[in-house]
Each structure stands twice: as structure tokens, then as C-alpha cells.
């Protein structure tokens, strides 16, 4: 299993390159709200889920798109681990 820090880094890199190009990486912390702040809107969430499924070979259910699971890098990493 990949360790949590690595998972977080992969997720952070993807979000920065795909959704926040040109933004300061330091501004994106493990606790930055993603869904509730509008970075992960519905279209971005679909893309992001696709990335998570492909990259970590996991299956994410429709109800797991909730902010409870995807709102921060911290929570996303927890979700990925729970699937692992």
C-alpha cells in the first residue's frame, strides 16, 4: 500500500496541474476546501474520480462524491486508503 504522504502528494499534484494551473502550490494545503470552495465542481469531480480510479485502481461509488469524502486532500487520502 502506498503511504499516506505519497497519496496526498499525487492528489495534490493532479489537482494543481489539472484544475489550478499557475497557482501557488503552497496555497493548496491538506485542509483547503475543494468542493465547498468550488475548485471541485461537478465536472471537475467526475474527472478527478476518474483519475483516482485509474491511478489507484479503486472503485468509487456515486455517494462517495460527497464533501464528506472529497472536500480536502486529507479526506481524499483517507478514502483512497479505505479502499486499499
Amino acid at each position: 500500500m502506498i503511504d499516506t504522504l505519497a497519496v496526498k502528494q499525487i492528489i495534490k499534484n493532479y489537482i494543481l496541474s489539472e484544475f489550478l494551473p499557475g497557482e501557488d502550490p503552497a496555497q493548496l494545503t491538506d485542509y483547503t476546501p475543494l468542493i465547498t470552495a468550488g475548485i471541485l465542481d461537478s465536472i471537475a469531480t467526475l474527472k478527478f474520480v476518474d483519475f483516482l480510479e485509474q491511478h489507484f485502481s479503486i472503485t468509487i461509488n456515486a455517494h462517495e462524491t460527497d464533501p464528506e469524502y472529497l472536500d480536502t486532500i486529507e479526506r481524499i487520502a483517507a478514502l483512497v486508503h479505505s479502499k486499499g
Binding site: 484544475f19 501557488d24 476546501p33 465542481d41 465536472i43 456515486a62 455517494h63 472536500d71 486529507e74 479526506r75
Partner: protein, 882 residues
């Protein structure tokens, strides 16, 4: 699911570490006191501006007191206390009655079924059976309730509970079931009760669609004072949005049929685009109130008129609804279809989501209003919006969308691009709203014949204003803070609290002062009058049945005769019941405003109702008067027409028959005709038009006007209405009254009536004089019956004395019925189910006394008049007047 206190936070609540309370933070008691004082100020503003319903204001008072008690309770007792407060609010609202302050028995009779049915629905959701079995049980329960809502089952006296119950359960039940099914654990009872019986829901039926998980998760997820502060800001924002709505509604909004030129066309389009602000304002108030009880919920709307794309508009305009649709319909559809290709899944999921949105809006309308009408503008609105959002989604899927994390990243080029996109989106969305606000697609298409250069100029000005607003509200703030916002971290230091307090208190105080009658008298300038009027047009007097604009949400939020019991409970006033049913009238463009349709046969108030070929509720007459006929033209309103009384029992028919059977002495060869020209709602002003347009051709010998005390009001009502209908005003007397009272076409009728009150005697006198002139011009004797209604005396005795004096002074011969009911019981003479109308018994009494007066009144001198007609009949050259 709810986190009872900070020490017991669950997994998933890790993203927003709680800020430590700093030593310079405001003490909690002081912060709570500041919030409480602002809530009191808001309550004063509500009262002074007559905002929302009486029920909402009472729930707000309850919430204000409840807030303080709730805050000082231990954390684990707060949620049960909130549930008690919600149920208390339900009892408070349901016991509202026009007749007394609060009716406990009525409250229990209504609230208990709501609580019991609601609890049963919640229980079904948490049953230990499969998801689809629970869904089927809920479907069956919903079907049974639909039979009650449709009036097929159940008691009419409990009709109020269905829209209230529906507003609590019709959507939230779907979310709740979905969340319970996917969470894998049963929620606590207090969480469930709090979620469904939410505090202001018993008095507001159009309610933001709060997500159950978020509702539970957000409970005190950050510092209490910070949540309260944000709640207050939203309540104040809601108040301001409702005031803006009032100004737009009163100063700008138009109905499509009222448009006559290019400027009014753009006025119609723009005003309708902004009217949704009422929904936004109400949602801010509701969610702001919930924040005061620790539910740290997100915004419901976010500057949706500054959206720079259609997808962004969809994301901003009703955020809770969008979240619901995406969670329950969009994502499940996409995840099911994504194996067939992302693009196909996206297309089908998007179209499916908008289809569901349209259907659920109809479903919502049916539950809240009790009926639903299919309309093409509605279908087209959702279809076009679906296509626009779909195209935008495909674009975003392929090309991505610019998102911002840090500050100060707008270049001049990107800012200009943003303003252009925003203006373009606003233009398209405004057009769509104008379509939704039109009665039909053809009406909307027809509007464009008014488009001209002024339309284009005003449209360009509006778009420039939107671009400027984009720079002020979207671009500039991004240079100071996170452009993508997120939950605002509200500081609880002295400085921040003081700033927040001032931001809330200053606009509220300003509103209070601006709407203060003393201030308005001091700053008494005619150009300010429309603004004062707009502010003074409170929600209890605003047009409920004839609002100046028309649209889905206007219709949904106005509680009208379709929900009479709910309206009377929330407003604590009796609803004036107009005639319900097919109206046998058509509009006319003069002071009558409407006339009866000819040859109509229907049932009204359980009575047979027929009109003759001339549009009179009477038997048929030839227009040309036969020789030897004495013809009386009877003028009046619905009372004289005889609403609810069989035609042959209306006093005019009885008197006519009796005159022909028992004519005055020496007039046995004369035929008497009383032509009943009465029309519902006709005022003396309309009776002048009636004389000129319709009666002249019938050559009456006597014009018999039936006038009531209400004619004072009706003359000023019709004078004001003539401004709205652009009917030329024929006299300086009338024009002067309007000018002195500062009445314009847009002044609300209640305010206009109030300001025209001092002019009423002069206006009514002018009408009487004109009726005398017109009658004499026709060669007819002008006579007036002053007929108060049985329940009006002796309260209106002084008014009656004044009115009879005016009648005499104008030259009308007076038949005074002020003392007609002295020996009668008013209850026997009024039909309670019809507002201000007499029974057949009262008509018989009127007929009896009127017959006697016609026979004996020396001024009318019916005997001699009949003899003259009889003699004239023998002379062929003098048979009839042309």
C-alpha cells in the same frame, strides 16, 4: 451523525481545525448579547416594513428568545432543545387565527397530525428492510397523502396541514432516505426531527433544500460566535434582498400585457431577471436563522446574476437545489453510464438532471398550491437552460475551466474577458426569465414587436452596469482575498466583531429611519414619494391575486385563494373571498373596466345565473321602448345584480312585477320595465360610463342608481385603476385629487386608497353630479337609493348621513334606506359565504319598501309620470325617443 461537541468530532471533520480562542477574543456572553440586540433590531425592521407574514415574525421572536437560551445550554442539550423549539414554532404557527391571538385547540388539531405523519415517514426511512422496499412504502404513503391534498379524502378543515407537511417532506425525504441508505448507520432521533421540522419551515413553504449530511456535519463545526456572526450577516443580507425585491416589484416590474413600447420591453426583461432575489432573500433569512442554532450551513445563492457561464449560473443560483440534483440524480446516472463513455454519460446525466428538475418543480407546485398547469414557457425555459448548461459542460470537460486559489491573479485581459462573459450570460439568462414570466410563447414572441432603439440602448446600459458590477464584486475582491471563497473564517476578536456588528446594524438602522413616517414627513418631496411608497408597500398588502409580475416563483411564493386556510393562518387575517368560478365578464376600456357577457348561462354561488342579449342579468327586453312603457334603468353593483339570489327574487324583478300587477292609480294601461344594468364591482365612476355607452340606447324615463357606503372607496379605487389602464381622466377635479395625493400608476392600491381618502367626498359628489347631468341629458329623472348593507349600521351612520347629503346636493332624488333594517336581524339578511351580499329575504324587504316609495314619493311622482307615458302612447309621433 451530529457532532455533539468539539471534543467528539467524527472522522471527516478534520479539514477545518477549530481556531483556538485567543485571549483578546470577545467574551461569549458579550457576543451573544450583541447578536441578541441585532436580532431585536431586525425584528423591529420586520415589523416596521411589514415584511413576510405575521406567522414568520412570531417565529422570529420565538427564535430570538430561543437563541439565547439555546446558547447557554450544555452542548449535548442544545439539539433536543432546538427540536422542542421547532415543535413549539409549529404549534405557534398552526394556532394562528384571524379571530384570536392564538388558538391552542386549533394548534393541537393541526400540529399533531403533522408531527404524527412526519414521524411515521421518518420511521419508514430507517426501517431495517431493503432500500427499494422502504422507497415503495414511502411511495404508497405519498400516494395516500396526495389523495388528501387533492381533496379526494379527508376533511376540508385540515387542508392546511398538507402544504406544510409537503414543504417539510416532499424533497428532504428523498435526501434523507438516500443518506440513510448510503451511510450504513441509523441517524439519531433528534437529528432526524430537527432536520424535518426545521424552525422556520412551519411558516415558510418554499424552503431551501438542505442536505441531511451537511446539516448534521456542520453543527457547531467551528466557533459558536463565528457561526452566529455569519448567520446574522445572512439574515441582514436577506432583509436587504427582500427590500430590493420590493423596490423592483413596485417601481419596475411589469406584466407582459402591459408593455406598450421598447423601453417597457427592456424594463420587463430586466425586472423579471432580478425578481428571483425574493427567493434568495427568503433563503438567506431561513439559513441565517439556522446558523444561530449552530448549523454552519453554506450559502444558498452566490451573486448568480454575475455568473460568467451557464454552468456557473446553475451552480450559483440555488446552490442547495443544485447539490440535491447532482447528489441524488446526476452522479448516480453518470456513474451508472460512465462505462459507455464519459461524453455520453455526461450528456445523458445532464439532460436527465434537468428533466428531473422540471418534473420536480411541477411536483413542488402541486404539493404547495394544490394544482399545477402545464405551460410551454416553463418547458422551454428548462429545455433551453439544459442545452446551454450541457454545451457549457462539454466545453469544460474538454477544455477545463479557470479556477483560482490565490489572490491577485486577474490580468486586465482576463478581467475584461470575464466581464464580457458575465454580460453575455446575464443577457441570455434575462431573456430566459422573461420567457418564463410570459403567459405563453406567442405572447413572448409578440413582445418583440415593441423592440426599438431605446430597447437596445437600455439593454446596452444594463450590460455595462453588469460589467462594472463584475469588476467591483468579482475582480477587485480577488485581489484582497481567496477568489474561491470557501467557508468564511469569521474572526471573533473585538475589532472583527465590532466591524461585523456595524455592517449589520448600519443598514438596518438606515432602513428603519427611511421607512419612519416622521422622517418621510420631514423629507417630504414629491419625487421621493414613489420610493417611500415602494418601501411602504408591506407584504400584508401586496397584490396577492394580481401581482405586477408573473413567474414560477412569484406564483409559488404568493399564498393566494388556492391556499386560503394557509394564508389566513400565516397572515392572521380573513381572506376576502371574491367570486370563484367562471366569471361572466369581459374587460372594457372605460371606467366600467368590465361588463357582463351577453347570453351567458351558468351557476354561480349555487344559483342559476343568466344574462340577456344585452349583457344584463335580467329577462330579455327590446332595445326600443314600446309605446306605453315606463322604463327604469337600474344602476348598481353585484348586490343589485343579485349575486347568490335567483333572478326572479332580486328586488328589481319583484318591483317590476308588482308595478305591473299593482300600478299607480290611473296608470292601468302603462307597462313598467326595470332594466337591471348592474355589474359586479361597478362604482359611480363606472356608472357614468354605463349611462354614456350602454343605457342611452334604451331611452329610460328614470335612472335609478343604487349607491352604497363602499362607493366612497370604489370611486377612488377606479380613479387609481384608470391610471394603470391608461384611461383618459375627464375632469380637473379628478386630476387634481390624483396630483394632490401624489398618486401614480405604480402606487399600490392600498396606499392610493389611503391617500385619496380625504378626497373621497369630493370625488363621489362629482360622480353624482355627472350622473344627474347624463340622466337629464337622456331625458330621464335621476333617482338614487342609498342602501347600506345590513351589517354596516349603526357603525357607518355618520358616513351615511354625509353620503345622503351629497346625494341630495347633487340633484339626485334620494330614496333613503338608512333605517331599512332597524327591526331586522342582520344575520338573517346576509349570505355569509358571499362577501357583503344579501339574502333573498333582504331583497324581498328592499323590494317591498322600494315599491312603496316609488308609489308615494312626491318627487318621483310615479303616478303622474305613468299617466303621461300612457297619454304619449296614444300619440304616434311621441312613441319613443331615438
Amino acid at each position: 451523525m451530529i457532532t455533539p461537541n468539539r471534543g467528539a468530532r467524527t472522522q471527516g471533520d478534520d479539514s477545518l481545525p477549530l481556531p483556538e480562542r485567543r485571549s483578546h477574543a470577545v467574551p461569549e456572553y458579550l457576543g451573544v448579547l450583541a447578536v441578541f440586540s441585532l436580532l431585536v433590531l431586525i425584528a423591529l425592521v420586520f415589523k416596521q416594513l411589514d415584511m413576510l407574514t405575521s406567522a414568520f415574525r412570531r417565529v422570529f421572536y420565538l427564535a430570538t428568545v430561543g437563541f439565547v437560551l439555546h446558547h447557554f445550554l450544555p452542548m449535548r442539550q442544545r439539539l433536543p432543545f432546538f427540536v422542542l423549539l421547532c415543535l413549539g414554532a409549529l404549534l405557534l404557527v398552526m394556532g394562528g387565527s384571524p379571530d384570536q391571538l392564538w388558538d391552542g385547540a386549533l394548534a393541537l388539531q393541526r400540529a399533531l397530525p403533522i408531527a404524527a405523519i412526519g414521524s411515521a415517514l421518518i420511521s419508514i426511512c430507517v426501517l431495517s428492510i431493503g432500500f427499494w422496499k422502504r422507497a415503495a412504502l414511502l411511495g404508497a404513503a405519498g400516494g395516500a397523502m396526495a389523495l388528501f391534498r387533492a381533496g379526494i379524502l379527508g376533511d376540508e378543515s385540515l387542508a392546511i396541514i398538507w402544504p406544510v407537511l409537503a414543504s417539510m417532506f416532499m424533497f428532504r425525504l428523498l435526501i434523507y432516505l438516500y443518506d440513510v441508505a448510503t451511510a450504513g448507520q441509523r441517524p439519531r432521533l433528534s437529528e432526524s426531527l430537527a432536520y424535518f421540522f426545521l424552525l422556520p419551515n412551519s411558516c415558510v413553504t418554499l424552503f431551501p433544500l438542505i442536505d441531511f449530511r451537511r446539516f448534521c456535519r456542520s453543527h457547531y463545526d467551528t466557533e459558536a460566535l463565528a457561526i452566529y456572526q455569519r448567520g446574522l450577516q445572512w439574515i441582514v443580507r436577506g432583509v436587504l434582498q427582500l427590500v430590493v425585491y420590493r423596490l423592483i416589484q413596485q417601481l419596475l416590474a411589469l406584466k407582459a400585457e402591459d408593455i406598450t413600447n421598447g423601453t417597457e420591453l427592456i424594463q420587463f426583461i430586466l425586472a423579471n431577471a432580478f425578481l428571483y432575489i425574493k427567493v434568495s432573500g427568503q433563503f438567506h433569512l431561513i439559513v441565517g436563522l439556522l446558523l444561530l442554532f449552530g448549523f454552519n450551513l453554506p450559502e444558498t445563492n452566490r451573486r448568480y446574476f454575475l455568473a460568467s457561464s451557464f454552468t456557473e449560473y446553475w451552480r450559483r443560483v440555488n446552490i442547495y437545489w443544485k447539490d440535491f440534483i447532482i447528489k441524488v440524480f446526476y452522479y448516480p446516472a453518470f456513474f451508472r453510464l460512465k462505462t459507455r463513455g464519459t461524453t455520453l454519460a455526461l450528456v445523458i446525466a445532464t439532460l436527465w438532471s434537468f428533466f428531473v428538475t422540471w418534473v420536480l418543480h411541477l411536483y413542488q407546485t402541486w404539493w404547495l398550491k394544490g394544482s399545477v398547469t402545464f405551460s410551454w414557457p416553463d418547458v422551454l425555459f428548462w429545455f433551453i437552460l439544459a442545452i446551454l448548461v450541457l454545451v457549457n459542460s462539454l466545453w469544460e470537460m474538454k477544455r477545463g475551466r479557470q479556477r483560482k486559489l490565490a489572490s491577485g491573479t486577474y490580468s486586465v485581459r482576463s478581467a475584461f474577458g470575464l466581464t464580457l462573459r458575465t454580460a453575455g450570460t446575464f443577457a441570455c439568462i434575462s431573456l430566459l426569465w422573461s420567457l418564463l414570466s410570459s403567459a405563453s410563447v406567442s405572447e413572448w414572441v409578440g413582445l418583440w414587436c415593441y423592440a426599438d432603439w431605446s430597447t437596445l440602448m437600455w439593454a446596452a446600459a444594463a450590460l455595462v452596469a453588469i460589467m462594472v458590477a463584475t469588476i467591483i464584486f468579482e475582480v477587485l475582491p480577488s485581489s484582497r482575498q481567496l477568489a474561491v471563497g470557501g467557508p468564511e473564517r469569521t474572526a471573533t476578536s473585538f475589532g472583527a466583531m465590532a466591524r461585523s456588528f456595524a455592517q449589520c446594524a448600519v443598514p438596518l438602522a438606515l432602513l428603519y429611519v427611511l421607512n419612519d413616517p416622521t422622517f418621510q414627513k420631514k423629507l417630504d418631496y414629491a419625487p421621493l414619494q414613489p420610493w417611500y411608497d415602494a418601501l411602504n408597500t408591506g407584504d400584508s398588502i401586496v397584490d396577492r391575486l394580481g401581482a405586477r409580475s408573473r413567474g414560477y416563483y412569484e406564483g409559488l411564493m404568493n399564498i393566494d385563494s388556492a391556499n386560503a386556510q394557509l394564508w389566513e393562518t400565516l397572515m392572521r387575517e380573513r381572506l376576502a373571498y371574491d367570486y370563484q368560478g367562471a366569471e361572466p365578464v369581459r374587460p372594457v376600456n372605460d371606467f366600467r373596466f368590465r361588463e357582463l357577457l351577453p347570453n351567458v348561462h351558468l351557476e354561480a354561488y349555487n344559483t342559476d345565473f343568466q344574462t340577456n342579449r344585452w349583457g344584463m342579468r335580467d329577462r330579455d327586453y327590446e332595445q326600443a321602448k314600446h309605446p306605453g312603457t315606463l322604463r327604469i334603468a337600474l344602476l348598481g353593483s353585484s348586490h343589485t345584480m343579485g349575486w347568490g339570489v335567483p333572478q326572479d327574487e332580486v328586488f328589481a324583478s319583484i318591483v317590476e312585477q308588482r308595478l305591473n300587477v299593482q300600478p299607480p292609480a290611473g296608470a292601468e294601461y302603462v307597462h313598467f320595465e326595470i332594466l337591471n344594468f348592474a355589474v359586479p364591482g361597478l362604482s359611480p365612476l363606472g356608472e357614468i360610463s354605463l349611462l354614456q355607452k350602454q343605457i342611452a340606447a334604451f331611452s329610460p324615463d328614470i335612472v335609478l342608481l343604487v349607491t352604497h357606503t363602499v362607493d366612497y372607496k370604489w370611486v377612488s379605487r377606479d380613479l387609481h385603476r384608470s391610471l394603470r389602464s391608461r384611461i383618459p381622466i375627464p375632469s380637473d377635479v379628478l386630476r387634481r385629487a390624483l396630483k394632490e395625493a401624489r398618486i401614480t400608476a405604480r402606487t399600490h392600491e392600498v396606499l392610493a386608497a389611503d391617500r385619496l381618502k380625504p378626497h373621497e367626498p369630493a370625488l363621489l359628489y362629482w360622480c353624482y353630479e355627472r350622473i344627474v347631468e347624463e340622466s337629464r341629458h337622456l331625458g330621464a329623472l335621476p333617482v338614487a337609493i342609498f342602501l347600506p348593507l345590513p351589517d354596516q349600521l349603526p357603525k357607518k351612520l355618520s358616513s351615511a348621513v354625509q353620503q345622503t347629503t351629497l346625494i341630495r346636493q347633487s340633484g339626485l332624488i334620494l330614496i333613503d334606506f338608512t333605517r331599512l333594517y332597524d327591526n331586522e336581524h342582520p344575520a338573517d339578511l346576509m349570505r355569509p359565504e358571499i362577501w357583503r351580499h344579501s339574502t333573498a329575504q333582504a331583497h324581498a324587504l328592499i323590494a317591498d319598501v322600494l315599491y312603496q316609495r316609488l308609489m308615494t314619493d312626491p318627487d318621483i311622482d310615479l303616478g303622474n309620470r305613468a299617466r303621461r307615458v300612457s297619454v304619449a302612447a296614444a300619440t304616434p309621433s311621441a312613441i319613443t325617443q331615438p
